[in-house]
């Protein structure tokens, strides 16, 4: 796996964060993972603001894993802002969430998510889902080049 490709994990639940990181590691996905624990932190990272002021914005994540249930700014709003900004609008965003609500799925696709994955409750299935996510978005998918 190319290590220069980063994953941005936007996840407030520490257990889910740990599980996701563990799943990536277990599957030999050694790419750097940046974790943002709420919507504000995520957007600060992507737009080089707040604690991430001055960050090189040509260096964006290869894939963003976005939980919908976030404090401060909810996941759909984060997605909307990602898609509304020229600097980030073509980034691959994969919704990775517990939400099973049709309306969340619909809204996510309407707002331009690339993919929507419901977190499997079963641990082995979760591992498998993360493994496949990694393969697909880090290796197989071709992202939009920097404008």
């Amino acid at each position: 796996m190319m290590n220069s490709k980063k994953i941005l994990l936007i996840e407030d639940n520490p257990d889910d964060e740990m599980l996701t990181l563990r799943a990536l590691k277990k599957n030999n996905i050694a790419n750097e993972v940046i974790v943002a624990r709420d919507g504000v932190e995520a957007l600060d990272y992507l737009f080089g603001e707040g604690a991430h002021e001055g960050r090189d914005l040509s260096d964006q994540p290869q894939v963003i894993l976005l939980d919908l249930n976030l404090p401060k700014i909810d996941g759909l709003e984060v997605l909307k802002r990602i898609r509304n900004d020229e600097r980030t609008r073509r980034l691959a965003v994969v919704i990775l969430t517990t939400s099973n609500e049709d309306r969340d799925v619909i809204k996510s696709y309407d707002l331009g998510a690339n993919s929507y994955i419901r977190k499997p409750v079963n641990f082995d299935q979760f591992m498998e889902a993360v493994r496949q996510l990694g393969l697909y978005w880090l290796v197989l998918n071709t992202n939009a080049p920097n404008a």
């Binding site: 073509r90 619909i106 690339n114 496949q132 697909y136 197989l140 080049p145």
Partner: protein
């Protein structure tokens, strides 16, 4: 796909017009049940008759089909094709030729998406 035991029905459209006819139940597909939409669409960018971006645009423009997962699967390596595809709303872009193992794994992944989503007799449409 067969290799990975993805037994979902696969509908193949050989050009953009056939694809749109299928999706919108026109011409040869008149009367087809419009609620029965593909689980995902694999779209080659180099299609005869209608330009593939136009196909993608029409898929995204119609309320019945606009949220369908569309994966561009194409030989094109051109930046402008990649950018255009995402601009027109493709969910993903995969360059051919692709490592066979990776590709079968990826197809399996798409199959896994089907597994996680509510089950049904869903189809892939390959254009």
């Amino acid at each position: 796909m067969k290799k990975n035991n993805i037994a979902n029905e696969v509908v193949v459209a050989l050009d953009g017009i056939e694809a749109l006819d299928y999706l919108f139940a026109k011409s040869a597909y008149e009367g087809r049940d419009l609620n029965d939409l593909p689980q995902f669409i694999l779209l080659d960018l180099k299609l005869p008759k209608i330009d593939s971006l136009e196909v993608l645009r029409r898929i995204r423009a119609d309320n019945r089909t606009r949220r369908l997962a569309v994966v561009d699967l194409t030989t094109s390596n051109e930046d402008r094709d990649i950018i255009s595809s995402y601009e027109f709303g493709a969910n993903s872009y995969i360059r051919k030729p692709v490592d066979f193992d990776q590709f079968t794994e990826a197809i399996r992944q798409l199959g896994l998406y089907s597994g996680i989503a509510p089950k049904g007799t869903r189809q892939a449409i390959i254009i």
